[in-house]
Subunit: 224 residues, 4 copies
DNA sequence: GATGAATGAGGGTTCATTCAT
DNA sequence: AATGAATGAACCCTCATTCAT
């Protein structure tokens, strides 16, 4: 039994190695140029092994995306939980999440936006995570508004805020004509206007430990 | 001469057929899965003909994207020019452009976001058009602010506005969880807040003739 | 009738244009890179016209080769007829023929040696011309030997001489490590040894008019 | 270790199979008509495997030519080393080499003469081998001449001899109107004339073991 | 007669997948 | 479990040939 467990752990480790190698390959070679070959080279394992752990290449790409999205979600939770400020501060820092680190995987997400229309599972995952994210933001908006006795259309506010985040992120990735700091300033400004808060009271960078997530970790072993 | 002219017109028609077939194929199969085969099948013409009219597949993809962006730009100009309201109204309706029609090609832009990282020319075109678009919006913001004696950071305001548009557009395409009307409401709200205007004075739909651009025209023959 | 004649002459002219264009293309682009396209471009005529005058591309290549071999034969006859010396001199200059001009078509012949095994007609033409050539040389050897009262195996002598010519030609084309003059010296030496003649009496270059054939003419219009 | 060795041997065997199949295809279809298809058909292996063992088609053609030339060179060395006669005899038998066996691959060399003008590496290899061959022959001529106190232009003599060999070979392959024995007689006659030797003392066929090289071996498995 | 648009077979090559070892 | 040799479908592209004009 002990050995069996060990074997399964080993198997899981192999799977993880291949998943991480897939992400590395996507980052290094791009989406269309990532092949079974580049992935197996990146992993140091054989080509045949991929078929051993995954149904096919699409399956591996989907699992790798799931792994990546999980990391994004983990980072989001880390930031929200670590932030000591009240509802408003938590709201601000939670929407700042995409602009608090640079993983080098941003373009990859754009490729998955495209792939989503060919791989239904990717689209499902996307809508699931984005939906949960917007609901979360909406609840935070509600809490902050209630705290201040404000009445607002939280649905529209949540859409506005999350899509401002998405739009800033998209333009930042595609155009590289403004910075992550610009994005955080813009978000703070919009939030303060909505909630009558003073921007000065909320530093652009939250006073939390980002070392663990600052770089691409905890996408383990991806630092090269 | 008559024959030559007729022939050349015929040639242009063939080129257009292939371009439209390319856009259809991209919509249906995405960037990675659009091949010479899918395009020629979509066009009903032979595979070899593509090489007859275009240098290679990339060339066709780039030309097709140019064609699509040109249509987007044409529609943008049409809306701006037709709008009779002042600076503020023109600003509002110009950013509402992506939410005034449904061409059926929205996903395609996502595919090109992905393709941009494989085809430098696509990225160049994207940055060029988006850059010009943001500059245009910034000038309109300046004009409307000056008119009202307002002082604002037009650079940040332009980024906020254009990226709110992009984010709303992206979410609308990817998630289908809110409507184009929601988007226009959100944009009007943000603008009115910034410029102290009354939303009631600006109907969500501009009082202009959209028949020509309402559908996918003038992306001719794309209705299937 | 007059018109019909004119038409046929015109047709013949068109054929000749295409043949010459074929040879030009072969010289310029090589054998494998000569296509219907390069030939029609060289001729200034349309692609479709080739099918109008020739059964197919192979047919055109064969006819062009025939045309080229005819020119080689014409040049051979010209040299032999113009030479005023006796049997021996005529023999020497006749075998020197391949080393008296540089048409720029030498590599082309190598390609046809290869093509001969795929195009039976090319092999037939080759063997026919080379056979007649060797017979001609053998007769000249006989005449020169008889003149001097020498007895020799004219068959072996003819093979030796013609194949020495071919070998010198082949090495000259393939290796470019010796000159045409070297070839003529070698041939004169061998002949003088066989017939007891004095090399000094036979200048390396025959005292005949080569202007017409010096260059690639009379492959008309090939000078570019 | 045993397996690894076996695997690599197996790989080498596969490479050899593909090389031999390439030579067979070239013999059957010529250079222009030899495709990945004809080669894989000849080998009985799949098309994709060629890319597995060779960088591309040109690489395979070049390697195959190298393989063939190596065999020619091996046979040359075998004849020269095995021959027990003195300088003159070695000279005679070394130039007789092309006429001591019939591999069935003679036409192939003609195809490579053609291919040389498309594949620079083939031309380079050709010139390298032919150059070394002529130098070798020239040294033998020098040695035989020195032995007899003869003075001769060894450069011209070497060109004459090697090109007589090439010419005889070319005519034998292309025309099939004389025999390999004719060629050896001709070469012996020329050499004896040059060096004042008695042909009777040198049998047309050297008294050496040709069994190993008599047929196409060691071009293994080429007999069909 | 003459054109060149249109075709489609076949070229070399890539690559996901299979399977014997 | 792990390998990588082997496959063959599909990729983009070339080009000889056809045919409506």
């Amino acid at each position: 039994m002990k050995r069996a467990t060990k074997m399964r752990e080993s198997s899981e480790a192999r799977r993880a190695e291949l998943i991480v190698a897939t992400l590395k390959s996507l980052r290094k070679h791009g989406y269309v140029n990532s092949t079974i070959n580049t992935i197996s080279e990146e992993s140091g394992l054989s080509r045949g092994l991929i078929s051993h752990y995954f149904a096919n290449k699409d399956d591996l790409l989907i699992v790798a995306h799931k792994y990546y999205l999980q990391n994004v979600d983990d980072f989001f939770r880390h930031v929200v939980w670590s932030t000591k400020s009240g509802h408003f501060g938590k709201l601000f820092y939670s929407v700042s999440v995409p602009f608090l680190r640079d993983t080098g995987f941003e373009q990859m997400l754009v490729h998955y936006f495209s792939a989503a229309w060919m791989l239904p599972e990717v689209l499902r995952m996307h809508r699931n995570l984005w939906g949960r994210y917007r609901t979360n933001i909406r609840h935070r908006i509600s809490a902050a508004a209630r705290e201040r006795g404000l009445v607002m259309d939280t649905r529209l506010a949540a859409i506005t805020l999350t899509q401002l985040v998405d739009g800033l992120w998209l333009g930042w990735v595609m155009e590289e004509s403004y910075t992550q700091e610009d994005c955080r300033i813009i978000l703070r400004k919009w939030l303060c206007e909505q909630f009558g808060e003073d921007p000065q009271k909320y530093p652009l960078t939250p006073d939390i430990d980002l070392t663990l997530f600052k770089t691409s970790a905890p996408l383990p072993h991806i630092e090269d």
